[in-house]
Symmetry: C2
Subunit: 182 residues, 2 copies
């Protein structure tokens, strides 16, 4: 294999866009749409999606507060590694506890906390994974928003009401936050 | 904060240098020395050291074969994320099982498997962390090389006998493998 190592222009730190919200609120949809938009612009970007991360980094962890916090801290650790190499990192994770979110976001550079928000009645209607009905029937303990707490950000950098705006408009607001033209 | 997003020249994939060997063989020492050398050349590089990774990614995992394999797979997952953004990733991890090492190295681009090798009697004399004496006394179960297996690579890309060569000479060999001048 030929050498692939060449010095890079002075490295800029990447930013971390952290999508928090209920299951079904639209975090992954927005993150994926923003990912495609940044990729299309040849910007270095990585998507850390809660479910994929659980599979690769946190198998064995459950949904107690402690396990959820551990999961969030692991995601933040990896996001930080990538960001310091100039990658914009999009994190999609319920991350329900405000203190823990604040703690990890404070360790990361130029973070943008995005509250992906839709009322419980809306996400229950969407019920993307068919889980809300089960949770409401008491069949899933520790289900965020039903049988487990969700602490909404008190002052997110961006608050997107996904029951009121389109994915496209959400992406526009995200791009603006990143200082990019829509 | 000003926008930090600028397109990057066509991204080259980084390589993963995977240091395997007994505790005390000199993996972390060599990896740290190579890290400094690449940093001095302004090359994008990251060091994933077994102990630090256990703290940040694998707290709660033990030293059963299953847990060790999970730890190795997590490190590889993170190394792969970084490498695809052009970062050379130095992994220092005992990673005792040949099959698992092979499995993860096969998923990573341009990997260099480095067998950091010193005889058990040498690492026992070094006993950097004072653990070999305890392990030999039967006080530590699952201690690699004493009460747990270490499967040496059968055909590593580089085999460094740290009881025979200096750190400096080891780094020279590593640089050559990376296609760089010493």
């Amino acid at each position: 294999m030929s050498a692939t190592l060449t010095p890079r222009p002075a490295q800029k730190t990447g930013r971390v866009v952290w999508f928090t919200g209920l299951s079904g609120a639209g975090k992954s949809t927005l993150a994926a749409a923003l990912y495609e938009e940044l990729r299309a612009r040849d910007l270095p970007v990585e998507l850390l999606d809660g479910d994929a991360v659980r599979e690769n980094l946190s198998k064995g962890l459950g949904f107690s507060r402690e396990d959820r916090d551990t999961n969030v801290r692991r995601i933040a650790f990896v996001a930080g590694l990538l960001a310091r190499h100039g990658v914009t990192v999009l994190v999609s994770a319920i991350s329900p506890y405000a203190d823990t979110r604040r703690e990890v976001l404070d360790t990361l550079p130029g973070t943008i906390e995005v509250f992906v928000d839709a009322p419980l009645e809306v996400v229950t209607k969407r019920d993307v994974k068919g889980l809300y009905l089960k949770a409401l029937a008491g069949e899933i303990p520790h289900f965020t928003g039903v049988s487990d707490p969700y602490e909404a950000p008190s002052s997110p950098d961006l608050h997107l009401r996904t029951d009121q705006i389109s994915v496209q408009d959400g992406v526009k607001e995200l791009l603006a936050k990143l200082g990019l033209n829509a």
